[in-house]
C-alpha cells in the first residue's frame, strides 16, 4: 500500500476543512495510507514568503522536508501552493549541496538535519500515476454525470521541465481524473489561465487578481459547466470568494470532494457549508 506523510498546509485545514476530510476518506478508499506529518508549518507560502526572503523560505521549507525525511516517507500535498513551494525547495536542496549545507547550519540550531532525500508529490499526480483511472472508476460507487470545468491552476504542472507530470500547455490528466467519476469535462477557452491569486497578487492587488478570475468565470460559464473542479485550495478560495462580487454562481469543488461525492460521502462529511457559493448536488 502506498504510504505518504500528509502535508496539510494552511488554506485546506483552516478555511476548507472539508477538503482535508474528503482527502482522508478518499485516500483510504483508494488504498493510500496517509500518516500525519506532525508539527509541520506553512509550506511557507511561495508568493509572499519566498518573495520576501528566499533564504528564509528555503530554511522553513527544509524543516518540513526534514520532518518527513525522519519518518522515511514522501510528502503528499493537496494544494498547488504547498506542492510548488515544497517541490521547488526539495529540488534545490536535493541537488545543490552548497545550499543544503547552508540550510543545515540553520536547522542545527533546533537539533535538526536534512539529508536531501524527501520526495514531494501532488495528490492528483498520485491518483493518476499510482492509483490509476481504472481503479478510481471501480471505487466510484455513486457514479455522477455533471458537466465539469477542470481547473489545473499553475503550480501543479509548471514549471514543466522539472515537474514533468503532463503538458502544461494542453494538459489532460485532471480531465481524465474527473471523467473517472462518470462526469464530463467540458472544453473551454483559455483553460490554463491563472486564477489570479498567486504570487501575492491577490493580497496586494486584489482587483487585478479578480480580473483574471472574471475571465476564467466567463469562459467557464460559456462552457455550460455545472461545477468548477480544482486541485488547489488557494484557487478554490479565489473562485469561491469572488463570485458573489463578480456576479457568478458556479459552485466550486476540490477534486477530493468530487471523489467524495462519487464514493458516497454525505454532504455534511464533505464540509460544503464552508463554501460561499452554495453547492447543491
Amino acid at each position: 500500500m502506498a504510504k505518504y506523510a500528509f502535508f496539510l498546509g494552511c488554506i485546506a485545514p483552516l478555511r476548507y476543512p472539508g477538503v482535508e476530510k474528503s482527502t482522508r476518506v478518499v485516500c483510504e478508499r483508494l488504498g493510500i495510507e496517509l500518516v500525519e506529518l506532525d508539527d509541520a508549518s506553512c509550506c511557507p507560502a511561495p508568493g509572499v514568503i519566498r518573495a520576501f526572503s528566499r533564504t528564509t523560505w528555503l530554511a522553513a521549507a527544509a524543516r518540513n522536508l526534514a520532518l518527513a525525511e525522519k519518518m522515511g516517507l514522501p510528502i503528499l500535498t493537496i494544494c498547488n501552493g504547498c506542492y510548488g513551494s515544497l517541490f521547488e525547495a526539495a529540488h534545490e536542496l536535493n541537488h545543490n549541496p552548497e545550499m543544503l549545507a547552508k540550510v543545515n547550519e540553520v536547522l542545527a540550531k533546533i537539533g535538526m538535519h536534512y539529508n536531501g532525500t524527501t520526495k514531494v508529490h501532488h495528490f492528483a499526480e498520485v491518483f493518476y500515476n499510482e492509483v490509476g483511472v481504472e481503479k478510481i472508476k471501480a471505487a466510484c460507487t455513486n457514479p455522477l454525470n455533471y458537466g465539469i470545468a477542470t481547473f489545473y491552476g499553475c503550480h501543479f504542472l509548471k514549471p514543466g521541465d522539472v515537474k514533468d507530470i503532463d503538458d502544461p500547455e494542453d494538459p489532460k490528466i485532471l480531465d481524465e481524473l474527473v471523467e473517472a467519476t462518470g462526469c464530463k469535462s467540458l472544453p473551454r477557452k483559455q483553460k490554463t489561465l491563472c486564477c489570479g491569486s498567486g504570487g501575492g497578487l491577490k493580497a496586494a492587488f486584489g482587483d487585478v487578481a479578480k480580473e483574471f478570475t472574471k475571465t476564467n468565470l466567463e469562459n467557464i460559464q460559456a462552457s455550460g459547466a455545472q461545477f468548477i473542479v480544482d486541485v488547489c485550495p488557494f484557487c478554490h478560495l479565489q473562485f469561491d470568494s469572488t463570485q458573489d462580487a463578480l456576479g457568478f454562481n458556479i459552485p466550486v469543488l476540490h477534486l477530493s470532494q468530487l471523489y467524495g461525492i462519487a464514493m458516497g460521502m454525505s454532504e455534511e462529511e464533505l464540509g460544503l457549508s464552508a463554501h460561499k457559493v452554495p453547492v447543491k448536488l
Binding site: 485545514p13 506532525d38 530554511a59 475571465t215
Partner: protein
C-alpha cells in the same frame, strides 16, 4: 545615454538566483503570454531589460514588480529559457530588503511569524473541524508550542524578524 554599471546589483541578482536575466534577447514572448500584462501596465519583457541595465532603483520602487502572479506561462514559452519567475523573486527580495513592502504581504509574513501558518484559526473553523471528526486544531505547529518555537528560531536565524517588525 548615460551608462549605468552597478556590479553590486549584478552580484546580488546572481546570488539570489536571477543571473540568467542576461540571456534574454527581448523577443517579447513573455509579455505576449502574460495574463497580468493583459490587464495592467506591467510589462515583464521590460522588467527583464531593466534588470539587464542595472536599473535597481526604478525596478524596486515600482508597484509593477508585484503584479506577477507567478503563473509561469512566460517561463514555459521563453525561447531563451530565462527563469523569469526566479528573476522576479530575486528582484522582490531586493525590494523588500530596501523596505519596499506591501502592507497585505507584511500581514501574511506576520501570520507565519506569530502562528506558523499564513492564515489564522478561528472558532468557526474549530467547530467545523470537530463536526467533521477532525482534531479541532490541526496536528501542525498549531498543536505543539515547541515545534512553533523551533520554526521561530529558523525564521529568526534567517533574519525574518527584521523584515516583519
Amino acid at each position: 545615454m548615460e551608462v549605468r554599471y552597478d556590479p553590486e546589483f549584478e552580484k546580488q541578482l546572481a546570488e539570489l538566483g536571477g543571473a540568467d536575466a542576461k540571456l534574454c534577447f527581448q523577443c517579447g514572448t513573455c509579455t505576449a503570454s502574460c495574463p497580468s500584462g493583459r490587464r495592467t501596465s506591467y510589462r515583464v519583457r521590460k522588467l527583464v531589460r531593466m534588470a539587464q541595465l542595472d536599473m535597481k532603483e526604478e525596478i524596486i520602487s515600482n508597484d509593477e514588480l508585484w503584479m506577477c502572479s507567478t503563473c509561469y506561462t512566460c517561463v514555459e514559452r521563453c525561447p531563451r529559457r530565462v527563469p523569469i519567475v526566479d528573476v522576479i523573486i530575486a528582484l522582490r527580495n531586493m525590494a523588500v530588503a530596501d523596505g519596499h513592502i506591501k502592507a497585505a504581504h507584511k500581514k501574511t509574513a506576520e501570520n507565519l511569524y506569530t502562528m506558523g501558518h499564513s492564515v489564522p484559526i478561528n472558532d468557526d473553523i474549530k467547530n467545523m473541524r470537530k463536526a467533521l471528526g477532525l482534531p479541532e486544531v490541526p496536528p501542525t505547529v498549531l498543536s505543539n508550542q515547541k515545534a512553533y518555537e523551533d520554526l521561530k528560531v529558523i525564521l529568526d536565524a534567517a533574519g525574518f524578524n527584521e523584515i516583519v517588525e
